[in-house]
């Protein structure tokens, strides 16, 4: 950190951070603590009775096929959004990184999906894929000679469509960051590689990609947070977690159990588990990136 640029002002820094710290403690850390506490109880919706059950909520979750299903679905979903999303965005960013006329236009024309909310993305894709009357099922039925695409009776399909919608929405964001990262790769490196006889593919993997690793890891993290937490609106609008439990992401199951089944104990336990998973993944990511960065240097 910086040194003390304004010595003598003992209280000022505390004043400056006070509002943020207040909000963080009152609305984030406090409730989180309480959530952990509540996860060790079961209670009635109207609060007429609360019973301490220790780890039972957690044990129940881990032995519940529905919950494990939710975990699997969430990871599949996140994997799709991250892998497909980042690959596509990187490829597009590469294309955009050329010195060609009209790049400004293309940049704008490809980043705007960032401004679309997940909910709206969900609404639009839901209508495009509506079983009996939607555009895409119609096209598919023509191309495939009559196959009736109906995500309401096909869980895998539903998950695929939902993943595609979520990925589409994030493309803009990923492209901006990749583009910025790419523009930081010094031309001299790439030119040197060209002189050395390296093809564009090799140059990409040996030089560009490693230099992108801060951006990549940042985007990995952001996309993960997105896939785990910010797509609730999309799921609620498109599938309500269905058909069956096919698109019941962890965050959706949490909402269902907490707010529809009125089972606060289980929902609190689920909250903590998600937190744990995210933190673990983030820490692992951090370790890998730091190590890679060291190697690179």
């Amino acid at each position: 950190m910086y040194e003390d640029k304004f010595p003598g002002h003992k209280f000022l820094p505390y004043l400056l951070i006070a509002p943020s710290i207040a909000v963080i403690f009152i609305f984030l850390i406090g409730p989180f603590g309480q959530s952990i506490y509540e996860s060790f109880f079961v209670s009635t919706p109207f609060g007429t009775n609360t019973i301490y059950v220790g780890l039972r909520n957690y044990i129940r979750l881990f032995s519940s096929p529905d919950y494990l299903n939710s975990v699997a679905i969430t990871f599949k979903f996140a994997a799709f959004v991250i892998i497909i999303g980042l690959s596509f965005s990187l490829a597009i960013a590469q294309l955009l990184n050329q010195k060609i006329r009209g790049m400004g236009f293309y940049q704008v024309a490809l980043i705007w999906t960032y401004a679309i909310s997940p909910t709206i993305a969900g609404v639009i894709w839901a209508s495009m894929f509506a079983p009996a009357t939607g555009l895409i099922p119609y096209i598919i039925s023509i191309l495939s000679g009559g196959y009736k695409m109906n995500w309401m009776i096909n869980g895998q399909l539903a998950l695929l469509i939902v993943s595609a919608a979520a990925t589409w929405k994030m493309l803009g964001y990923n492209i901006i960051f990749f583009l910025a990262g790419l523009q930081n790769v010094p031309d001299e490196f790439l030119e040197a590689a060209q002189i050395d006889g390296a093809g564009p593919w090799k140059a990409f993997w040996r030089i560009t990609f490693p230099m992108l690793s801060p951006t990549t890891s940042f985007l990995l993290f952001v996309n993960m947070l997105y896939a785990f937490f910010q797509v609730f609106g999309l799921i609620d609008i498109m599938t309500h977690g269905g058909p069956g439990n096919a698109t019941e992401l962890l965050v959706y199951k949490l909402y269902r159990d907490g707010f529809i089944h009125l089972n606060t104990g289980s929902a609190s336990a689920q909250s903590f588990i998600i937190f744990f998973v995210i933190s673990a993944v983030a820490i692992i990511q951090l370790r890998i990136v730091t190590r890679k960065a060291i190697y690179f240097r």
Partner: protein, 436 residues
């Protein structure tokens, strides 16, 4: 002299203004989940009440789906910022009974020094919301399930449009004829499969859960995992495998297929009737929910919602609430509600008037629903409907099980058993929290 005159005028003004202040209507907040066309009818009924009862003002608020409405009600409870009246779906009945947050409606007249004749309401409807013969919530939007069918498609397939199937065996036979004729790709679908399953049990006087369907005490386990229950699952799976039954999803999407002529029959709530008649471009027929031949007769069960009154209101508010509830049960209002939405009128007198004025002979379709509940049993727990605490979650388990059976992941029997296991666990948990 002048001073005195002014003083008199001033006092008069003050008195008048106080009078106006005192005459401010008492506000009754009412949270509900009625949307679409139902909302319009509800709002006009409320306007009528407010106009004829200047001492009170009912303020309706659409708070989302039934589930969302209940959630918001639960959340508002600790800070006492909830409404005077809340509409809760029938599956939330046990939760509300156990909530300690409401005043059972049968107690209200006594609290206000009035008496009331509860027998004026239609019995199969009030039975659902009664505990030990006393009405706890006011039935408001009640419906049951029946069979809708497309008369035009029947003709096209060479079937008599005035002879719809009455048994599941006939459903299968008619189904095969439909498929053979090539008129449709699939023959029937249903709304809310979980509710349709409950209907199948109740129609044959089969209990859903022990303790008299949860009515004489909190249910400890479900009791339909027997040959009869397996038969239901097996029949539906077989019909699905033959392509006769198409599973339309957990809620209303089956209606679209029916309205657009893609399927010939639909087992759905009676409250869909108005919407279907409006949207369909073919002759709509209705009939009773199909039966399994040779099994006992029960009754179809009431679904929908009822109105609950929050505890701890002032006497004025309670009076307003009670006036509103009485108003809703009045013959003319009940008729207005029924004609606008298709829900059953809760007033017996309304029913009689509708029959007398020939409302049903104009369109037989509306009559079917009534005949079904009025012609069945009304005094057995199995025919009255089941009350369960964790009902919402249990229904999801049942649908899950059905889906697994239909998808062929499990045999119908195993799928049902798996669902039953999950459901019983939930009952056990509920008992732990509420058992005395």
């Amino acid at each position: 002299m002048k001073l005195r005159k002014n003083f008199l005028i001033l006092t008069l003004c003050l008195l008048l203004s106080t009078g106006t202040v005192l005459a401010q209507p008492v506000t009754i907040t009412f949270w509900h989940a009625m949307s679409g066309s139902r909302l319009g009818v509800l709002e006009s009924i409320i306007e009528g009440f407010n106009a004829t009862h200047p001492d009170f003002e009912v303020k309706p608020l659409f708070t989302g789906t039934y589930a969302e409405t209940l959630t918001k009600y639960v959340a508002a409870y600790p800070s006492k910022t909830g409404p005077s009246i809340v509409q809760v779906y029938e599956v939330g009945t046990q939760t509300m009974i156990d909530s300690d947050a409401i005043t059972p409606v049968y107690q209200i007249p006594g609290m206000l020094g009035e008496t009331w004749d509860w027998a004026q309401y239609v019995i199969p409807i009030t039975n659902y919301y009664s505990v030990d013969g006393n009405l706890w919530s006011m039935p408001f939007n009640s419906s049951t399930a029946m069979l809708y069918y497309n008369k035009d498609l029947f003709e096209a397939a060479g079937l008599d449009p005035n002879k719809p199937p009455t048994t599941w065996k006939e459903m299968e036979e008619y189904g095969e004829k439909f498929l053979a004729s090539g008129v449709v790709d699939h023959v029937y679908s249903t709304g809310w499969p979980d509710w349709i399953f409950e209907q199948a049990l109740a129609i044959h006087d089969h209990l859903y859960a022990d303790n008299d369907n949860g009515r004489s005490g909190l249910a400890k386990k479900v009791v339909f995992n027997d040959d009869f229950g397996y038969m239901i699952f097996e029949t539906w799976t077989r019909l699905h495998d033959k392509g006769i039954y198409i599973f339309g999803g957990a809620e209303y999407s089956a209606n679209t297929a029916f309205n657009s002529g893609q399927i010939a029959m639909l087992i759905q709530s009676t409250s869909s009737l108005a919407g279907i008649i409006k949207a369909a471009e073919f002759k709509v027929g209705t009939s009773f929910y199909p039966r399994f031949e040779g099994y006992p007769v029960g009754n179809s069960i009431i679904g929908g919602g009822s109105l609950w009154v929050t505890k701890g209101q002032s006497e004025e508010e309670l009076r307003g609430v009670w006036e509103f509830l009485k108003y809703l049960g009045q013959k003319d209002i009940a008729i207005q509600w029924h004609k606008g939405t298709g829900y059953f009128p809760v007033s017996g007198a309304a029913l009689k008037t509708l029959l007398d004025e020939g409302w049903f002979s104009e369109d037989q379709a509306y009559l079917t629903a009534f005949l079904q509940i009025l012609s069945g049993k009304r005094d057995t727990p199995a025919s009255t409907g089941v009350r369960l605490g964790p009902f919402v979650a249990m229904r999801e388990d049942l649908v899950s099980g059905l889906e697994k059976a239909l998808a062929g992941e499990l045999s119908p029997k195993d799928a049902l058993n798996e669902a039953v296991e999950k459901m019983n666990l939930k009952l056990k948990d509920y008992l732990e929290l509420y058992g005395k």
